[in-house]
Amino acid sequence: MPDGTAATRTRTIEMQVMRYNPATGNAPYMQSWTIPFTDDMSVLQGLQYIKDNLDGSLTYRWSCRMAICGSCGMMIGGVPHLACETFLRNFLPGPVRVEPLEHFPIERDLVVDATDFFTKFERITPWLVPKDPKPVSEGEYLQTPAQLEEYEQFSHCINCMLCYAACPQYGLNKDFLGPGLTALLHRYNADSRDNAKAERMELVHSEEGVWSCTAVGYCSEVCPKQVDPANAVNRNKTQSAIDWFARFLPGRK
């Protein structure tokens, strides 16, 4: 980022934004605005400038402005990004192309329908099933920093769905559980306190599970929180293979 003078120096940049309102029956189209910006302005702030001053009907999701609520994922310059932490200055001389997240149905303008993501979410048993249940009055389950580190990175997923927009396989096959939810599933499986791994592995082994992944790795590149879902998928491929071969060992069912 710029020194003080650059942050206050106002320049202009063209924003090209995809518009779509299914209620009108018209096909999606691109609309352009040239807006003033300073070097510390995000793409989200650019959209807000348009909505506040030029076209109140421009529609997008946003809230926290600090890359933690996961609302403002969109395609910016053809790449999945959070609009709040993507800066207009990086697209000079412009234009900046802004489109809804790929691979999801569009509800309106930059708002996509996330129903599929949330339907799958409930299927991964996204809660802790304790190994040795005990009442709260008996205190916390112990977990060393090393045990915490086993899964911590996978717990950073903000459900922004950028990795789904990046995943070519999800684009082709909507049954695929997908990168983010596989990472979240792995987060619980890798938690030393949890006991539901067997149940979750059923889903991992299944057709919707990790074997759908073709190891492109783009999911991890676009992840704004360094969750590295590709890593979670790979670890589960290994685990899934071990589980499969283990069936043939004596004494195992």
Partner: protein, 600 residues
């Protein structure tokens, strides 16, 4: 209009709403629960809380210490029965979250670790690096999926609270994707919609923090309590107001003025030990630190940035490794948004509005004055924050009182017959027409953004860190005019589905009502206490006249009327609120006095 019947309707799907939903279904598995949120629950603003959540665990700490830090931190405007209940239940709630999988940071032996926060005598802040709110929210959201009785209405905007025969009887919601109205009948309604910080210009809050729930109750005749108390967090990003957690200072961060001087020592917070002394200097309370900034700015000792003056938050001495472990998100924010590597350079910061201490008044059981209505979290005035909230208490509050709210709502629903459906439908139809009016309006010359920005500027200038009678009066007048102009906003968007411009108008209506309650309550409080500081002759705390909760009563277009209610004081008489060496001396004197009294 599609109509649903539930035992309990919860408005808001953040930490408080989710905790309440889980408690309600655990307490009564037969209860039907609607969890209604204008965003997907894990987008709620709980997600942005960084530093941590309080719960006494150390052997050298005690519930009495937590009680005293809270009550003195709140400048004795806390309801002490509520604080007693709160401190006694924080730790079990933090442990409950642990049992649900929350990735709390750990000590080498596997036990949960705690850190220091401002205004805190002994370390008691549970943390998950500096993403505590995020992890608490996601843990609660994911855990809530275990319970089939919790029926979620995601991305549904609640535009009205329905009241029949003096009881809460349901809510009216707009499905955002379609614009369709849904009448949700409920025997108990829990409001858990969070705060209202967006009525100010520079704030740490997400765009959704617009005081909806406060306004819903207020318009139905529930007085809003202690609305003049708005917390400025001292360390925020200039311009955007994004938060740099208090944990930065809990871990040893320093605040420096333009000369590299630890200026807090000039404001009764010293001595400036090189190590972090509890309840002193950078570990003083938020109100005092924000006030110190204000004075430094006027003395010309702050740093100029493109977005106004700032001071430096210096974390360099903590070293790269500790910063990455304890404050990873802070590092990211500083790097991405400011281009500053905190291991190499100090971060420019300034105060921004962070938290609304006041809200819907509740008793210790989270019940609002309207039967069947419960409130929890930042939208509530549970009595634990008084005139200034202690850092780490708000996340704990979501859980402690969220659980109570869920259980109480379930109990109330079991004992209550449903409201008359025909009458409720009539009311819902009228509410629907009111909510649609801006969408159908064909005349007007105002824009949402203009009215909203003028409100936010006016609140900042009249109800900021320090307040003056004339400026507050001007803000009150401005808000009255803006309320009128709000009725002349003409929408550019006429669509039914995903019309966020229309919803912004409804939110702005909520905001203006809440802002008026704040400004008028502030004007009428002729003393200085906690986050409410006046410079116009009312510079001292006045217990004789104002050891009282303010109560703002809604009067439509008219300015709210301001009344007062009693503060519950059980065993801590108002004393001197001091920090640093002065605080330690005052504590010692207090102890001596107590010994003398017990000898006598």
């Amino acid at each position: 209009m599609e109509t649903f019947n539930f035992d309990i309707a919860i408005v808001g799907g953040g930490g408080a709403g989710l905790r309440a939903a889980i408690a309600a279904t655990e307490c009564d598995p037969a209860a039907t629960i609607a969890l209604v949120s204008k965003v997907y629950p894990m987008r709620s603003h709980t997600v942005a809380a960084e530093g941590g959540s309080a719960g006494v665990v150390r052997s050298d700490d005690s519930l009495e210490h937590h009680f005293h830090d809270t009550v003195a931190g709140g400048d004795w405007l806390c309801d002490q029965d509520a604080v007693d209940y709160f401190v006694a239940h924080c730790t079990e709630e933090m442990t409950q979250l642990e049992h649900w999988g929350c990735p709390w940071s750990r000590k080498a032996d596997g036990h949960v670790n705690v850190r220091a926060f401002g205004g805190m005598k002994i370390e008691r802040t549970w943390f998950a690096a500096d993403r505590t709110g995020f992890h608490m929210l996601h843990t609660l959201f994911q855990t809530s999926m275990k319970y089939p009785a919790i029926k979620r209405f995601d991305e549904h905007f609640v535009c009205d609270l329905l009241v029949q025969e003096g009881r809460a009887a349901g809510i009216l919601a707009i499905e955002i994707a379609t614009g369709e109205f849904k009448l949700i009948r409920a025997k108990s309604v829990i409001i858990a919609t969070g705060g209202a910080g967006r009525v100010f210009r520079q704030n740490t809050n997400g765009g959704i923090v617009t005081g909806d729930g406060m306004a819903l109750a207020y318009r139905q005749g529930v007085a809003l309590r202690d609305m003049e108390f708005v917390q400025y967090h001292p360390t925020c990003m200039p311009g955007t107001g994004l938060l740099f957690t208090e944990a930065c200072r809990g871990e040893g961060g320093l605040l420096l003025n333009k000369d590299g001087y630890r200026y807090l020592q000039d404001y009764g917070l010293g001595p400036p030990d090189p190590w972090p002394r509890k309840k002193a200097m950078e570990l003083g309370p938020r109100d005092r630190l924000s006030q110190a900034f204000w004075h430094e700015e006027r003395k010309g000792r702050t740093i100029e940035t493109p977005h106004g003056s700032a001071v430096h938050l210096d974390l360099r001495h903590l070293g790269e490794a500790k910063l990455r472990e304890r404050l990873p998100q802070i590092c990211e924010l500083a790097e991405e948004f400011l281009g500053v590597d905190p291991a190499k350079a100090p971060i420019p910061v300034r105060p921004a509005v962070h938290y609304t201490m006041g809200g819907i008044p509740t008793d210790v059981l989270t019940a609002a004055p309207l039967p069947g209505l419960f409130a929890v979290g930042e939208c509530a005035s549970s009595g634990i924050h008084g005139a200034n909230r202690l850092g780490s208490n708000s996340l704990a509050e979501l859980c402690v009182f969220g659980k109570v709210a869920g259980e109480q709502a379930a109990k109330h629903a079991r004992e209550t017959p449903g409201a008359d459906p025909a009458m409720l439908k009539l009311q819902a139809d009228a509410a629907r027409a009111r909510a649609r009016e801006p969408l159908e309006r064909t005349k007007g010359e105002e824009r949402v953004a203009t009215v909203r920005d003028e409100m936010a500027r006016s609140m900042e200038s009249g109800c900021g860190i320090y307040r003056l009678g004339d400026e507050m009066r001007e803000t009150c007048e401005t808000l009255a005019r803006l309320r009128e102009r709000h009725g002349r906003i003409l929408l550019g968007d006429r669509a039914e589905g995903w019309n966020t411009e229309w919803l912004s108008v409804l939110e702005l209506g909520f905001q203006l009502d809440v802002a008026r309650a704040m400004a008028h309550s502030a004007l009428e409080r002729r003393e200085s206490r906690g986050a409410h500081q006046r410079l116009d002759g009312f510079t001292e705390r006045d217990d004789a006249a104002f050891l009282k909760h303010s109560l703002a009563i809604y009067r439509g277009d008219e300015a709210p009327s301001i009344g007062y209610g009693d503060v519950v004081i059980t065993h801590s008489r108002p004393g001197t609120r001091a920090y640093g060496a002065a605080g330690e001396a005052a504590d010692a004197a207090e102890r001596e006095h107590a010994i003398e009294e017990s000898d006598a």
